[in-house]
Amino acid sequence: MDPSFDDVWAECEDLFVQARQRLASLKSPQPPHVVQASVNALFRTTHTLKGMAGMLGFPRFSQAAHRMEDIFDLMRQGRLRSTDSLIETLEVGIQALESGLAELRRGRPEPEDYLHAIRRQLGELEALARPSEGAVLDLTGLLDLPPDLLKALSEYERTRVTAVLLAGMPIQGVSVRLDLATFDERLRSISEAAGAQGELISTLPLEMHDDRDGLFFLLLVATPALEAEGLGTLPEENLEVMALADPDRVPASLKADPGPLVSPKPAQAASNPPVALPQDAEVLRLPAQRVDALEARLMAVAQVRDSASLALREVQDPGLARPMAMMGEIEAGLLEVQKALLQMRMVKVESLFQRIEPMVKALSRDMGKPVRLSFQGGDLELERSLLGRLAEPFLHLVRNALDHGLESPAERVAQGKAETGSLRISASQRGQNLRFDLRDDGRGFDLARIEARGIAMGLLKEGEVHSAEDLHRLALEPGFSTKERASQISGRGVGMDVVRAEVEGMGGDIQISSEPRLGSLVRLSLPLSRAVIACLKVRCGQQTFGVPLNHVLRVQSSLAPVHGGGRIEVLGRDLPMESLQACLGLPEPAGQQFFVVLRQQGAAAEAGLDLALGVDEVAGRVELLLRSLPELAHTPGIMGGSLQEDGVLWVLDPEAVMGLAMDSLMKRVADV
C-alpha cells in the first residue's frame, strides 16, 4: 500500500469515529437544532468519505458512501425523520463501510456491494420512518446548572424537566448543607416539605470546593415559587433557594410543536447525555510518541515540585506558608494537565459498545433470533490503542454468541425459556484490570462435542476424565473449532484462539465458562496502568484511603460506635460490618461510627453482596490520578495510589476489600 496515502487512511478512520459518535448522539434526546446539526455533519462526513475513496481508487466504496450520503441528505431536508430503526440501519451501514475500509487497507479486493446487508432497509426507509418516532426533545439545557450536574440527571428527570417547562412551570433549586450524622433523615424531611410545595423532580448530591463540612444537596422543584420558611431547614444548613429555569426561555417553536418525548434505551441513558457536537471542531493528529514525551517531561517536573515541596517543609519557617500554598496550586495544576494528557489517550468503553450494538441488531434480525442486548459500564475508560485492538475480537465473540450460543426462538420456548435471548456485556474495573463479561442465556458450550473433537485432533486422550474447565480452555486452542463447516456468521477465519492471542497480546487474559442450557460467560481481563478515578476519601487512623465511587452504595453513620463483626441496618437491611483496619491487618479501633456500604459492581440488589465497611472518618469526594502498584508491591485490598500534597493516598480495591472483610468476619466467627 502506498505510504503516501497514510494520512488519507487515517483521516478516513477519524471520520468514522465522528460518524459513530454523531449517530449515537441521535439516539439520545436532543433539541431539534442539535439533531439537525448532527445530520448535516453526517452528510458532510459521508460526502468526504466518498471523495477520499475515489482518490484511493475504490469506486464501489465511493458508490456505497454516496448512497449513505443520499440518506443523510433526505434526513436534513426533512424528508426522512430520525427514528430508531433509521438510526440502526445507518449504524449498520457506517459499520459496513468502516469494516470494508479496514479490509481494503489489508489489501482485500472490493466487494460487490458494501451495503448488501441493509439493501432492503435502505429501500424501505421512507415507509419505515413514522412521524411518531420523530426527533426527541430535551430542555434540561435551560437549567442554570453546570454541565456535570446536568449529566447526573436520570432519563426520567430529564423527561420531567422538559415536560414541566413545556407546560409553562418554572423550576426552582434548593441547596442545603446537611450534617453527615443525620443527613439522610434531614434530607427526607426537607424533600417532603419541598414536595408539598411543588413537584420534586430530583435530589442531586453536590460537590463543594470549600472548607465547609457536611454533605451538600440540590433539590429541583417544579413550582412557580418556593417558600423557604416552609422547608423547615435549620440555620446551620445554609439553605439557598434559586430560580433554575424559566419556561419563558423555551423557544416558541418548541412550545407550538414540542415533538414526542422518546425515551432512549437504558444503555444510553446513564452514559450518553445529549451532547451538541461542534460543527467545525478542528482535530489535531499527533504522533503518540509526542504525547509520551510530554507526559514523561511532566512527570519530571512533578518530581521537582515534590522535592521543592519537601525542602520547604523541612525548613519549617512560618513565613513559608504562602510558598507552600502556591506549591499546592502547582500540584493541582499539574494534576489537571496530567489528567488532560491521560484523557487524550483514553476513550470511553461506550465507544466499543457503540460498535457492537448495530452488529448485534443486524445479526439478530438476519438470523431470526430476537435478542435483548444490554450494556453496563460504558462510562469506564480504556486506552484508545486498546479499543482499536479489541473491536475485532469483540465482534467475533458477539457473532459466536448469537450464532452458536443462543437457540432459535422455537427451541427456547420448547425448553421453557423466554423467546427472546439475552446478551449482556458489562465492563467493570477489578483491581488493576478492566474486566469485560459477555453473558448469554443460550445453550452453553457443547462440552461433549469439544471433548470428541479434542480426541479426534489428538489434543486429548480417550478414556481420560476431562474437567469442564479443561474443555472450556480447549476451545481457546489454535485451530480448534467444533463447526465442521464454518457458518456465514461466525466462520470468518477468526477463531477463539485468535481472540485469545489478541487479548494476551494486550497483557490480558480470557476465560470461558458455561452451564448446559443456561448460558455462557466469556470474561476478558485487561490491565490498566493509569486511570482517573472518582473516589470517596476516608480516613482510618492517620492514613487516608480512596474508595472508588462506583462501588459505593451509600455512606451511613450511627450514633453509637459499632465494632467490626457487628451488624448495622442499611435501608431496612441488616448488613455485616467490618472495619477497614481489620481488612487490611491494621490495628483495630474500639468502634466506628461511619460506614461505607459497598456493593459488588454490577450486582443486582437482591443478588449482590452488600457490606458495611467501618471507617474513622468520611472526608468527601475526590478525583484522583491513579497509579497502579508494581507487582513486587502488590498488596491485598489496594489497587494503587495517588500522590497527594500530604503523601500517597491509597486507593482500595473494593472487590478485594469485600473478600478480605468476609475472611475477617469468618475468622471472627471461628474464633468465638
Partner: protein, 143 residues
Amino acid sequence: MSDSRLLLHARAAGRAFLLPLSELREVVPGAPVAPIPSGPPGIQGVVLHHGEFLPVLDWGVVGGDPDHAAPPTVLAVLRPRLGLPLEGVAGTVEAPEGGLNDSPAEDAWRPILAGLCQLEDQELPVLDADRLLALLHRLRKAR
C-alpha cells in the same frame, strides 16, 4: 585474556557489597518512601520514579543491621524495577567474570548473594538481583 565485568561498590544496611552494573538501571537521589499499609514483606514502601511507583527494598528482610546502618542517601534502581536504598556509593570496580568464592553458611545475606569477590585486600559479597527477587516472591507466597 579473561573476561571482566564492572560492579558498583556500595554500602547498605551497614555493609559494603558489590552489584553488577548489568543489573542496574540507574542510581538516583534518595526520596521519602511512602509505606503501603500492610504491604508485602521485604518492601518498605514505594517512591515515585519516572511517574510510576517503584517498590523499595526493606533490608531488614535479609538481616540488615539497623544499629550500624546510616540513613540511605541514594537509591539504586535495579533493572527489574526494584529500588535498593544505599547509604553510599564508593564507585565502580572491575572484577573477573565468575570465579566467586562461596559465602559462609552463617551469612544472613547468603540467599541473595552470587558469592564473594576477592578484591586486593578484601573479600566483598556480590548481590544477585535474581536471587533477591526470588526471595521476595517466596516471602510473599509464604505470607
